[in-house]
Symmetry: C2
Subunit: 330 residues, 2 copies
DNA sequence: TTGTAAGCGTTATCAC
DNA sequence: GTGATAACGCTTACAA
């Protein structure tokens, strides 16, 4: 693999001049510049990024941490981020944490070792106190996930409002027995706490009391959705509608409901979350809360780039709007 | 950011000894080793990967090139690859080519600049003659995609057999008017040529002549599928079944067909490809050709690891089996 | 078992 | 405009 010294030999100029050509410095004589360019071309020379990084340059690489890339929400998010990055000359490192604290730490180390100039985190496994120290090595932008600190830029959705919107829609459709499936836990401080509050608030406003039997926690997949339906069937008092935290759970639920000859939405109304392509294709079409994935991805990357170019930019929080997409499952 | 010299200062031993501790060399005295370990701990020291790479060490990083990460087939493939990599101490760089030749070349350069020790390509945009030279910088494994050369390891599926299987299934169900949707072109040498041949062969065997009007090329998305149905409706002579190259196209097709009050499979039978989670959820369930994604991903990474540890291993081709998953759309 | 020193490929500093 | 030279952080002969 050709290196700068090879270019020096072939072109007959000094290392510094070659470096200047590589980096597009303004004041170089035309002849030398061409000499160098020709030599580089001839040798198929590519600057060694490890060396540049070591030398303390920008790595022109950013990392995106996602919990699971097979989740369409995250693959679309990564896609949006990557596009903006590429347009700006950045490589995007996609890092899958698998919701593993250790793995997340390994990825945070990319910052320390200058393999990435900045990081976008779309999920957080470790406590913020653990993550915070890494910001001294490079900017971190939170996207989708958030923490209650002012020092970090956050691109988020108002999950409270999203859940509130969905539950309210069900209430307006006449439902009063509304079950709630969440990917997190139903606690005041844990994961998805905002959505929980949105659910509670919507019910409260309508004067409906929460039935704890109808709170189903830690549900993520299509299979989970199928199991949830079984649980519902076994209930003495059944809900007439279910709010779910993901289209996948909703899809599994709908699938199993149809198997058991329930009519949707008459016997059971279902509402999903994310508005994945899947939602439209189900029969009946799934009412869902659309997250503007492209926009939050784009914004996150833009904020990160701004921070990279201008480290003193004050951290901001952006909040993007949800949209309720009503189809025939409610 | 603490470096090796900081550790040297704090521990009081030499740089080489510190390095030996980092790399788990066998013969170090217990005391010194502990001294070093303690210092590293105290400083929060992480070896600088760029420096290690520059020094010519393994980067313990491999790259996977995919055309589009939002395509579930590829996100699941990446997931499988990444898991095996992680178990073996490798970081996985996910590279999205967006079917762009330039971008693919940029990723191939990772090998040149030692940012990645090896590469798995799940799609090929440039000609093999362009890609081949990069193999001198590190092993490349082809996964899913293939070329007709003996010098590169290939993990592939017999696409010919997959398509043949699906079309034959339709014929056995009594269909003789079978349309064909492909993501590629219907040419002898281009993309998806093997599937094309499988389709042709199955028809031939049944003594059915191909109707060129029913060959629909370059179809990829759900929206494409919807458009295809419109085309079918406008045909003077309509096919009774459609073989598609992807579950997404099939899903779009089914969606539009139902909108137009066609009964599936009676008015139109549909068969998909990939057996994505979606296939089960559609109504009626989509008959599909399952690709053993986990297996090919796992195998690809295993082959790459073998090649990394043992560069002289002769390149092999693995061919994994498809499986026809029959549901109610046929 | 440990330490010294050279070198990996760049770029920044300084001198000319 | 151009060229020496040192430095980035690490590993590995070689020497002790």
């Amino acid at each position: 693999m050709a290196n700068i010294s090879d270019v020096v030999r072939l072109s007959g100029v000094s290392k510094s001049t070659v470096s200047r050509v590589i980096n597009n410095y303004p004041h170089i004589s035309k002849e030398k510049k061409e000499l160098v360019l020709k030599a580089m071309e001839e040798l198929g020379y590519t600057p060694n990024l490890s060396a540049r990084r070591l030398r303390g340059q920008l790595s022109t690489t950013i990392g995106v941490i996602v919990p699971r890339i097979v989740n369409p929400f995250f693959s679309y998010l990564v896609d949006a981020i990557e596009k903006v990055g590429y347009q700006n000359g950045y490589q995007t490192l996609i890092c899958q944490s698998n919701e593993d604290k250790e793995k997340e730490l390994a990825f945070l180390n990319l910052l320390k070792t200058k393999q990435a100039d900045g990081l976008i985190m779309t999920s957080i496994e470790n406590d913020w106190e653990v993550i915070e120290p890494f910001t001294q090595f490079g900017p971190i932008v939170l996207c989708n996930e958030y923490v209650n600190v002012k020092s970090v830029p956050i691109i988020r959705l108002d999950q409270y409002k999203g859940a509130y919107m969905g539950v309210k829609h069900l209430i307006e459709k006449g439902h009063r027995k509304i079950a709630y499936c969440t990917g997190g836990l139903f606690t005041e401080f844990g994961k998805d706490k905002d959505r929980n509050q949105g659910y509670q608030r919507a019910l409260e406003e309508a004067g409906i009391k929460i039935n704890p039997n109808w709170i189903l926690v830690n549900q993520h997949t299509i299979e989970d959705g199928k199991r949830v339906l079984k649980l519902i069937l076994e209930m003495k008092e059944r809900p007439t509608a279910v709010f779910t935290g993901s289209d996948e759970v909703a899809a599994g639920l709908m699938f199993a409901a149809k198997r058991h000859n329930l009519t949707i939405p008459d016997d059971l109304a279902i509402i999903g979350f994310d508005d994945q392509p899947l939602a439209e294709l189900l029969d009946p079409g799934l009412t869902s809360i659309r997250q503007p994935i492209d926009q939050i991805g784009k914004k996150a990357m833009e904020v990160l780039l701004e921070l990279l170019n201008n480290p003193d930019t004050a951290p901001v929080t952006y909040e993007l709007p949800f949209e309720l997409v009503v189809r025939h499952s409610t």
